[in-house]
């Protein structure tokens, strides 16, 4: 036992975070769910350097638009919901750096000028990273990095209500909002985002109103932040390469006898099938 303990201490990697992907349609409440999780964990008031849980948004990784694309975007004729609208390579590399425990800089995207601002956000090493966006499960390379995948499943008409009210407050015209929705947002959701729902480990119907599901997730993250993180990391000791290590970690996690974890992993099977769109 002494030898075993010593081995564990010697090989324990430092600041290897637990990655959670949060996906869902536009205005489904992904950001709100993440913010609520932070709030319930008491992390929203902690200084960035000291945070154990942090949020990264896929919105930061929109491509810089060409002048022609900018002109289209200003008229509501650019498809921001298509996978090609995102800088996937940059996004993937950033996530790898986060997994390796590095400090990374994330761009700030300006939705008015459709370009990246000079200011960047520093993401410091954390124990848990929430990465949210409409297409975070779309690319397999990114999808496979997550230790847990959540899909916020909000009714399409509720999402439209929110988007209409949000865009109206941004001074946009109703007809433009509705046309953009039916032309780009809805088709892209149904083609690129909705099919990725099947990869989710947990589906959260009704979004932030679903406090049962959110509390369950918060409890799980709390366990990770407390003692259980050793169990998770101990599992990776047996691996010899990065990829295999991740897989074993997930497998180990699945075998975790923790009631909360067990309940969480079984939940998708108990979910009533949602209405086909």
């Amino acid at each position: 036992m002494n030898s075993s303990g010593l081995l564990c201490d010697n090989e324990r990697p430092r600041h290897r975070p637990f990655l959670i992907g949060v996906s869902g349609g536009t205005a489904s409440g992904k950001s709100t769910v993440c913010a609520k999780i932070m709030e319930l964990l008491g992390q929203n008031k902690v200084d960035h350097h000291q945070r154990k849980v942090t949020i990264v948004s896929q919105d930061s990784f929109y491509r810089v638009l060409t002048p022609e694309q900018k002109a289209k975007a200003l008229k509501g004729q650019y498809n921001f919901d298509h996978p090609d609208a995102f800088d996937t390579e940059f996004m993937c590399q950033t996530l790898k750096d986060i997994v390796e425990g590095k400090v990374v800089e994330v761009p700030t995207y300006d939705f008015v000028t459709h370009s990246r601002l000079p200011e960047k956000i520093c993401v410091y090493p954390a124990d848990v990273v929430l990465f949210e966006g409409i297409l975070v499960f779309y690319t397999q390379e990114v999808r496979d990095m997550f230790h847990m995948k959540q899909f916020v499943d909000t009714d399409s008409d509720v999402r439209l209500s929110r988007r209409v009210l949000r865009d109206m407050n941004r001074g946009r015209d109703l007809e433009q909002i509705l046309t953009q929705y039916t032309t780009f947002v809805k088709p892209a959701f149904e083609e690129f985002c909705l099919p990725t729902k099947k990869y989710a480990d947990v589906i959260i119907p009704r979004g932030v109103d679903n406090m049962v599901a959110i509390n369950l997730i918060v409890q799980h993250i709390q366990d990770i932040l407390n003692g259980d993180i050793c169990k998770w990391q101990r599992g990776s000791v047996n691996g010899h390469n990065h990829g295999r290590s991740l897989k074993r970690g997930v497998a180990e996690h699945g075998e975790n006898p923790s009631g909360s974890s067990s309940n969480l992993t079984k939940r998708p099977l108990l979910e009533p099938s949602t209405r086909p769109h």
Binding site: V158, R159, L160, S161, V164, L165, L174, E175, T182, K186
Partner: protein, 533 residues
Amino acid sequence: MDNIVFEMEYRRKHSSRSNSGSGEDSLDRLLPPVSTSRRKSSNLGKTEPPLLRTGTRTIYTAGRPPWYNEHGAQFKEAFVIGLCGGSASGKTTVANKIIEALDVPWVVLLSMDSFYKVLSAEEQALAASNDYNFDHPGAFDFELLVTTLRKLKQGKSVKIPVYDFTTHGRQKEWKNVYGASVIIFEGILSFADKELLQLMDMKIFVDTDSDIRLVRRLRRDITERGRDIEGVIKQYNKFVKPAFEQYIEPTMRLSDIVVPRGGGNMVAIDLIVQHVHSQLEEREISVRALLATAHQSQPLPQTLSVLESTPQVRGLHTIIRNKDTSRDEFIFYSKRLMRLLIEHALSFLPAKPCTIQTPQGQEYKGCRFGGKGITGVSILRAGETMEPALRAVCKDVRIGKILIQTNLDSGEPELHYLRLPRDISEDHVILMDSTVSTGAAAMMAVRVLLDHDVQEEQIVLVSLLMAELGVHSIAYAFPRVKIITTAVDKSLDDLLHVIPGIGDFGDRYFGTDGSSSWSEEDQQEPLSCSSEV
């Protein structure tokens, strides 16, 4: 939204003769154009457009084939299609595309929107602030809805309320709907009532994505109706969406077919249209051929009354049956005979005792008309010739018209046009046609009157000349209808014309048989009134 198959017009009792004449003239213009070189009926062919539009009226020139059998009873109930789905799912679009694809009349669209309940003052205030739930079953008058749909399915004429969405009440005048072989009934809660469901022969659920329905609703309410966006979204999330999920979506399982994507789904719509075509064809039957072989060697019915064959009557018949009689003489003597016929028919109307005071101050025990009112209904085209005689004899009579023409391909009568006075159901009806051969057209007209709740025993059919077969057919199907004529000929020829007959009365009277060169003005000559000394 209602599809009104017929226009119902109220003719004032005291309209002047000139107004009536004007009405007749305007009606003549609604008929298909007449070519002097061809018989009018030959204008009806498959290449003819199905609609004839003039002013505010639309007349279907493709008539409704018989919907009843030789017993006079409705052969088959109307086929009812129930259309359900959320608000703005495209139910009305699907309904209209079905109607458009069918391209036939006698398909009635009945909307549940017409059956909202009248709101109380308190409910009105709620509605004004978007706080009244129009999507709850309690907002609808299901009792009236079930009654109306059932009567319509039975072939009856019905009245549909017209709901005013501004005042949240019903307009004073309701709409009349008649002549449905297929009924398309649409509404968000059309599957919510068990009795309604039992009346439907096919149930279709239009399943459109909820966000698309919200897009349409936002466009309609804000862009078209100028409502406030937050109010619309508030109402949607508070009433429309919960009602859909609680009352509408669960009924999807009751449907026979689900049409995803609504009005744009032409594959599903075509499939439905094919089925409805089959149902329409099942409701067409041949009546005339059946009539032609029925009732051999039977005594004439008791309800028949033939004008006494006096020398005067025989003299008039001699003139009008003569192929060499000129048109003006034909018209003159026909009118004389019509007058005698009408006078005779009126003697069959009910009377009740009535005592009056004479100028000498003495009592006279007489009688007067015992009914509520008298309506004359002419079977166009030829029956219209008898209207002046009725007006001359019967003061303040109301007039209705039924246009029935023979389909040259099938030989069957077809109902083309209907205009009846309002509230005809308690009147005694003088049904007028110049001649009756098989009785097919007269049977159709009687069926129409019965569908408008006229009592059978209050119908008097008057005709200048009838074939025995026609008398039997009508008496067999409608044994309480009185039949009044001036002569009954024994037989029919292979073309079902009366033998010895009178020729085509309408053609001879209107000069449309091509042999007359009389001017248009002659047709408008005033009623001649001969007095015998």
